[in-house]
């Protein structure tokens, strides 16, 4: 194993990691703040990917124009779900929310399958060419994914730390009743959390589309890995889910050096489950 391969995989791991982080951070926000386990979240990621593909097929020429359009579409869907179905199951036991969101995920996934067919759709790289990274030449688009992803992640973090809704979100996460008694409009905070999580997942899907292609099962394939990231990073811990996401991304990428890709995935799974058994509360403490 040469240093160049190592460097390549480290960079790849970061690009995976950023995408995992975008999805996992949304899940951890919903779980930590609203006690809401959303198995359907992976489908929002998938719909983000289909969204950007669709806009490009329709004729919106620029990938970077299609991105916000796709994100807004998914955002609309996320809010529609919140307003209709999800509102009724917010206060239910975790099993019910898990089942209900599983049902929604199945409907979305099969619906997309029925409409668009099972085959993976390829997307041209919006940024082509290679860039010199020290001794290696690395695909420019992957660097763009890392860059854009990090910007969005950091931006969301700043929002959560500084803005009014950010403070309210954290207050509700720490003591919902007391926040309510101080005047925080809790349902509105939930809506904001759903919107934020949906947008993050959608961005992840859009960025992933040129890398992995667009298929109906891409959401289901990634959702459990995202939950593992959440559990490693600590429930409700935004920073933890980001770090966990990058960690898992690296484990998979580096594992792929020695193992087949699918085995690398399982290896990561095994390692993570072992870690979880040792520290069930999450490896990183739930700092808010």
């Amino acid at each position: 194993m040469s240093g160049e391969v190592l460097l390549l995989q480290l960079a790849n791991g970061l690009s995976f990691g950023v995408i995992f982080a975008l999805i996992a951070s949304g899940i951890t926000l919903m779980w930590g703040i609203m006690d809401f386990i959303n198995i359907a979240h992976g489908e929002l990621y998938m719909l983000g990917a289909y969204g950007v593909w669709l806009w490009l097929v329709i004729g919106v020429g620029d990938f970077w124009l299609a991105l916000p359009l796709a994100v807004m579409g998914v955002l609309g869907l996320g809010l529609a779900l919140r307003g209709t179905v999800l509102r009724r199951i917010f206060d239910r036991p975790p099993l019910h929310t898990l089942l209900a969101t599983y049902g929604i995920a199945l409907i979305l996934q099969q619906g997309v399958l029925a409409i668009f067919g099972p085959f993976t759709k390829e997307l041209a790289l919006p940024v082509g060419g290679l860039v010199s990274l020290g001794p290696v030449r690395y695909p420019a688009y992957r660097l763009v994914v890392i860059g854009v992803g990090l910007v969005i992640i950091v931006g969301a973090w700043i929002l959560i730390q500084r803005s009014t809704y950010g403070i309210w979100i954290r207050a509700v996460a720490q003591d919902r009743a007391m926040a309510a008694a101080l005047g925080v409009p809790v349902p509105r905070v939930y809506t904001v959390v759903m919107a934020l999580a949906s947008a993050l997942a959608a961005v992840g899907g859009v960025l992933a589309a040129p890398l992995f292609g667009v298929s109906p099962t891409m959401g289901g394939e990634i959702i459990l890995l995202a939950f593992i990231v959440v559990m490693i990073g600590g429930l409700g811990n935004y920073v933890g889910s980001v770090i966990g996401g990058v960690l898992i991304g690296e484990v998979i990428a580096l594992g792929a050096i020695w193992l087949q890709p699918t085995e690398a995935y399982l290896g990561a799974l095994g390692v993570l489950l072992a870690l979880l058994l040792l520290r069930p509360a999450g490896l990183l403490r739930a700092a808010r």
């Binding site: 179905v85 898990l98 459990l224």
Partner: protein, 333 residues
Amino acid sequence: MTTAIVEARPWPARVARPGLAVVVILLVAGVPWWASSYLILILTSALALGLFALSYDLVLGVTGLISVSHATLFGVGAYGMAIAMTRLEVGLLPGALTGIGAAMAMAWLIGFFSVRTAGAGFIIMTVIFAHSVEHIATIWTSLTGGENGIILGVARVTLVPGLALQFAAGSWSAYYAAAACLGLAWWLCRQLVDSPLGLVLRGIKGNEGRALALGYRVGRFKILINVVAGAVAAVAGILYALCQGFVSVDLLRVLLSVEVIVWTILGGPGTLLGPVLAAVIMSLGIEYLRTVTHQYLIAVGAATLLVVLYLPQGLGGLLQQALGRGQGARRDA
């Protein structure tokens, strides 16, 4: 709390129950005489899934353990048997025992998890666990046949010298075996639930903290019931595989684990009979849908969502609500 006054039930009621049981048994036993091979096959599958739901009701309905990995036990039972029979060339009974043993070991592991973690974390971990096994089964093609599964063909077992049973897709033996197992298991589970052990389990579901405070080794009981339920689920999986003639990854899927939860909720957790009926009816329904359209999974998803939204207490609960309102009114008057 008012105590119920127990009166001797009038003789029509006392005859009705066993009478109904006899009628049911006759109906069930008579099916293969008039049904087509295909119908026998899907009914056997439905019965096997009913047995599966029964085993899960022990876990969820009676003890309150929320595991989303029960189909893993169902599938591992079937795979264990299939792998032993095809790769190790053993007979049906040793193969079945292998499958049951493997499932019980896995059930022990799940039970072990359940003691270490609780609540939503445990639920998610069972999902992850189930998904991992599903994934392994799909890629480890040399062992499991991957997506194609393992074909069982015709399996023969000799009960006593001179009397041999033959299991193949749609065979009568599989049907009667499934019906007999279901009936026997249901009766045994009823005894279990009414026994002191059953009381402890229900106590754990009702108030785990109190059970702990009373000195019960709650963890041990959880693991125990999971292993017992795992064995029953494995038998169900084996029967299912025998009647279909092959084993595939579909038996292990997270989807099946979710479906059995829906059946249990719909039928009424803890009633034992409810989940069985719900499983039989709904699996028949899904089978029918599958012949009609490719997109039957959308209906499954929709059904799951609707059950959770509108029938979280199951059909039994709905009935109870309707009855309870009547009773409650009488009590207040």
